[in-house]
């Protein structure tokens, strides 16, 4: 497809004509999950354009504050993806992450945010297909839940 | 010696079944032979203990279930305590004997089987074993009438043989246990019927093979 065709394309897809699409913020660790996402790309695996990846060095770097801020700003879903337990590039980071996010789910529940909007997945650098699959599943799941209005702070 | 047809002769799932029944993983065995080396009876066996285990691994069901070795095993557990792979061979032997009996395989050693049958008859009847009665019953079963007569007399004289069987009050419980266990096993045997028929056929073939 060349850029020349772009105009009709645009006409075809008018913003108002398209249905509501969830917005998912994904924190991906640089060594495994971000690489997995890249692999999904190089293997041309398709998944919905609902996800925006924030690159972090390690899932252990993701502060629950980031997750909550995302929901406050109206993200419909948040995904934290890191190396499989035991494979952490920094040896122990993802263990701390795992423990933290178990608690974070509780906190979200307490805040009245459906914990089902918050996913934690282990995706290795060789698991492009898994990354694509997770995004497909998550998009479907979040679409089913509908938009996140609860935590959105009034602008 | 019969050629081993790995595709035809080997019953899939047999190793797994024996592993389940014996509570030990037969696939762990790497055939070092320490079990056979330590076995007090291996010299009289048609297959060495490690060969029995090999047959189980391969799934040579009919051959192993009609082997004499499984009946000559005296359950001394030496193999089990010394096995470097922690295979509980004594329990495998128990499992094979019970499978052999339940699938109606041709017993590898008539005398031992006859002894076990007589033994159990008396336990079923009286709740306890009556050695004298059991021995006589065994002699009738096995046809080994004259053996040990002298010994029997000597023991009789020394009051080592209780003339009458003990008949405990709870003997009906014991008989009940026998019945219910048989029922349970019978059920399993039912499930296995087709296999048994097939097994019989195989054994017939196997014997012909051996006869040739």
């Amino acid at each position: 497809m060349s850029v020349a065709e772009a105009p009709e394309e645009r006409a075809a897809a008018e913003p108002e004509s398209e249905a509501w699409q969830p917005k998912i913020v994904a924190f991906c660790c640089n060594w495994c999950s971000y690489a997995g996402a890249d692999l999904a790309g190089t293997s041309r695996l398709h998944y919905p354009a609902t996800v925006r990846v924030v690159r972090v060095p390690c899932s252990g770097r993701v502060n629950p504050r980031f997750v909550i801020r995302a929901f406050q700003r109206g993200a419909d879903g948040v995904l934290v993806a890191g190396c499989h337990p035991g494979d952490c590039h920094y040896s122990t980071g993802n263990y701390y992450a795992r423990r933290r996010f178990l608690l974070a789910r509780r906190l979200l529940e307490y805040m009245g945010i459906d914990p089902e909007r918050f996913w934690v997945k282990w995706i290795s650098g060789s698991e492009g297909p898994k990354f694509a699959e997770v995004i497909r599943e998550m998009s479907a799941a979040i679409s089913a839940l509908g938009p996140n209005r609860k935590a959105r702070e009034e602008e | 010696m019969k050629v081993l047809d790995l595709a035809q002769d080997c019953v899939p799932g047999f190793a797994a079944e024996v592993s389940r029944l014996s509570g030990t993983n037969v696939e762990s065995c790497y055939a070092c032979g320490k079990c056979s080396a330590g076995c007090p009876l291996s010299s009289a066996m048609d297959y060495q203990p490690h060969q029995i285990l090999r047959m189980v691994q391969l799934g040579l069901r009919d051959e192993v279930l009609s082997a004499r070795a499984i009946w000559l095993c005296a359950s001394c557990i030496t193999c089990t305590v010394r096995c470097p792979r922690e295979v509980k061979l004594a329990q495998v032997m128990d499992a094979l004997r019970s499978l052999s009996r339940r699938t109606g395989a041709v017993p590898g050693d008539r005398k031992v089987v006859a002894f076990y049958r007589s033994f159990l008859d008396f336990v079923r009847g009286g709740g306890r074993l009556h050695e004298l009665g059991m021995t006589l019953a065994y002699k009738l079963r096995s046809g080994d009438l004259l053996g040990d007569i002298d010994l029997g007399l000597k023991m009789m004289l020394r009051g080592k043989l209780k003339p009458l069987p003990a008949r405990i009050k709870g003997r009906s419980d014991v008989a009940g246990i026998f019945r219910r266990v048989r029922e349970a096993e019978g059920q399993q045997a039912e499930d296995r019927k087709p296999q048994v028929q097939e097994l019989k056929g195989r054994q017939a073939k196997h014997r012909e093979g051996a006869a040739e």
Partner: protein
């Protein structure tokens, strides 16, 4: 107000095919901080990079966003580009429009919208970038090699020959290790001492090598390039500088002690040199067995020593050595077969181990190389060898194969047949594993030329009968029990880790496997490195090995260490944790979660209301920090931040997405 330039790459049609570049350019131009935006067919191409450099100067850009392929592809390329344009290389952010957008979406509209978001995120983040700098940490050009066996000797020589100083630490009074105890070596049958002794002498004479024998490493501080190793020099009770190794003291010492060098088969004195070719050739007093130390009387050695070298009140000495690299060559121990009741619980004198047999056949051993039964000194006619004793036995031993036993047992068989005419040799085995140059041929010689009888099966039991040993085994090939009455039984006992391998690992800060062997960083690609930078492994401390493999690995470890020591300084990461001391409360939760021990407590003094107050804060060691960021999340005060991935930057990205 930052001046951001955004460069959007078509990547041919790879991006432009799915993403409407024109619209992205349009949208980006709207973003407040963006003062310049352009699109190129291939931004990574030289023209593409040139136009970045040009734009930086033309538009006085102080931040750059490249929207192209994954940062994992070209982040470094573009860092260099902007550095060439005079910007700090870390003032760059890459938006991943290819792998994570154009290649994974078909719907052009959605892809374009997403692309704009991704660039907005990058812009938001890059505005919060600050210049980052790597720092240099100097390298101490000295290596400490722990263990004076063949592995340590080889590693020390190679590193020293590369021109670096080496400190070689050996626990026993002499270098040599297990190899010094061996008689002949397979597969060439050349005498072990003959090939080892010259190397020991070479070490002793090497101007760049310092030997600390009868010494142990007690503590290791610091990090790659800058270790501080604390060594305990145990008191020999002999002044090394005076002792000439003449040996008179040993001839006169009245107390006899089982000689550990002869695996207890021979005797030595309480003052001793372990073996004639010992390096250093200095006497040592074994205080547990010295009559003077035990009963306060004797001191004969002191009287007879012309060099006046005896120092009864000599204390242990602690010394600190600065080093850039450490090589662990701590070796192995032999499996204790006394767990085998079926083989006599180690109680039958004529059931011995392979190492004991080495001493028996060795010309310099307790029997002058005559193979004699320990029990009665008789020459055995029938010798049985049992392989895999302890090896490949989950029940009573270890699960792994010890790799060396097949070969040394074949060697023992050959030596027995050579030394005892008419002797009969039986070898009970499960497999014969001879993977090595000339190994299989060597094993064939044992059977074909020397008539060693191999019997395939494990031995179930050994029991004494009329002064001989009944060995009850199985020939699994025949499927028949195989019994033999032997005069001597030699057990090929497994190679196991040193009993204190765990302690060694903890001292060095390296990990060890379930068996207790020190673990390499990667089983295939980093076989001699450990997860602790600057610590390398050589020889059997990493797993069972024969001499050729040990020497090869020792040289490999040495070259790794030398390569490290060749560098003037090590560059540290730029994207590492940093503490805002004004906010840090010194709780040190960060210290607990740091996988690299990079965080330590430090005391600072500051003036509060005219008074000097000192308090504890966390300090990050730039050389140790790998930038994982675990500490930033653990921090209760928000004092800990990760440069390049600050909380503010990540939150800015989040907000940019959710606009």
């Amino acid at each position: 107000m930052p001046r951001v330039g955004v460069f959007i790459c078509w990547c041919g049609s790879n991006i432009a095919g799915t993403v409407d570049i024109a619209r992205v350019v349009e949208a980006v131009a709207e973003m407040p901080q963006v003062v310049h935006v352009e699109d190129n067919k291939y931004t990574c191409s030289e023209p593409g990079q040139a136009s970045i450099r040009k734009a930086v100067s033309d538009h006085r850009l102080d931040r750059v966003v490249v929207a192209a392929c994954s940062p994992r592809m070209h982040e470094n390329t573009f860092r260099k580009t902007i550095a060439a344009a005079g910007l700090n290389p870390y003032l760059l952010e890459v938006a991943n429009l290819r792998e994570q957008c154009s290649w994974v979406h078909e719907d052009k509209e959605a892809a374009t919208v997403k692309a704009i978001d991704l660039v907005r995120m990058a812009v938001a983040k890059v505005c919060r970038h600050v210049p980052l700098f790597t720092s240099q940490s100097p390298v101490t050009k000295r290596a400490v090699v722990i263990g004076g066996g063949i592995a340590g000797i080889q590693a020390a020589l190679d590193i020293a020959d590369a021109g670096h100083e080496v400190v070689l630490v050996e626990r026993t009074p002499s270098l040599g290790g297990h190899m010094a105890q061996l008689d002949k070596t397979f597969p060439t049958l050349d005498c072990s001492a003959c090939i080892l002794t010259p190397k020991m002498v070479e070490v002793a004479q090497h101007p760049k090598i310092t030997i600390y024998a009868y010494s142990e490493v007690e503590k290791v501080d610091g990090y790659v390039g800058n270790f501080t190793v604390t060594i305990r020099r145990k008191a020999r009770s002999v002044d090394e500088t005076r002792c000439t190794g003449c040996g008179v003291c040993m001839t006169r010492c009245p107390s006899n002690v089982p000689n550990e060098f002869d695996v207890g088969l021979g005797k030595r004195k309480a003052i001793y040199v372990p073996f004639p070719q010992a390096v250093p050739n200095k006497a040592t007093i074994d205080r547990e067995h010295c009559i003077y130390y035990q009963r306060g009387r004797c001191r004969i050695c002191e009287r007879v020593c012309e060099a006046k070298a005896i120092v009864f009140d000599q204390p242990d000495e602690l010394i600190e050595v600065q080093a850039g690299a450490i090589v662990a060559a701590t070796g192995y121990a032999q499996f204790d077969h006394s767990v085998y009741g079926e083989y006599g619980y180690g109680q039958y004198p004529d059931v011995i181990t392979g190492l004991e047999f080495e001493r028996l056949v060795c010309a310099s051993g307790p029997t002058e190389g005559k193979i004699k039964r320990p029990s009665d000194g008789r020459i055995p006619e029938t010798v049985v060898f049992i392989k895999c004793v302890g090896s490949r036995d989950e029940n009573k031993g270890v699960s792994y194969c010890s790799r060396t036993c097949c070969m040394y047992t074949a060697k023992h068989a050959i030596l027995t047949r050579e030394k005892i005419p008419g002797s009969r040799v039986y070898i009970f085995y499960m497999d014969v594993r001879t993977a090595g140059k000339g190994y299989e041929e060597f094993y064939r010689r044992a059977t074909e030329e020397y008539g060693a009888r191999y019997v395939r099966g494990r031995v179930s039991r050994i029991y004494p009968k009329g002064g001989r040993l009944v060995v009850v085994g199985e020939d699994t090939i025949l499927g028949r029990k195989a019994v033999v009455e032997a005069d001597m039984v030699v057990l090929a006992a497994a190679m196991v880790p040193q009993p204190d391998a765990g302690a060694i690992a903890r001292t060095l800060g390296v990990s060890y496997d379930q068996d207790g062997f020190l673990t390499e960083a990667h089983p295939k690609l980093r076989p001699v490195e450990t997860n602790t930078a600057g610590v390398f492994l050589a020889g059997a401390c990493q797993g069972p090995k024969d001499i050729p493999d040990t020497v090869a690995q020792a040289s490999a470890a040495a070259s790794k260490a030398a390569a490290l020591l060749c560098r003037e300084a090590l560059e540290t990461e730029a994207m590492i944790a940093s503490v805002d001391e004004s906010r840090c409360s010194g709780c040190l939760w960060c210290e607990a979660v740091c996988p690299y021990k990079a965080i330590t407590a430090k005391t600072i003094t500051e003036r509060v209301r005219g008074k000097n107050v000192s308090r504890t804060v966390a300090e990050v060691n730039k050389s140790l920090c790998h930038g994982c960021g675990a500490c930033t999340v653990a921090c209760r005060d928000g004092a800990m931040n990760l440069l390049g991935f600050t909380n503010q930057q990540i939150l800015a990205e989040v907000e940019a997405v959710c606009l």
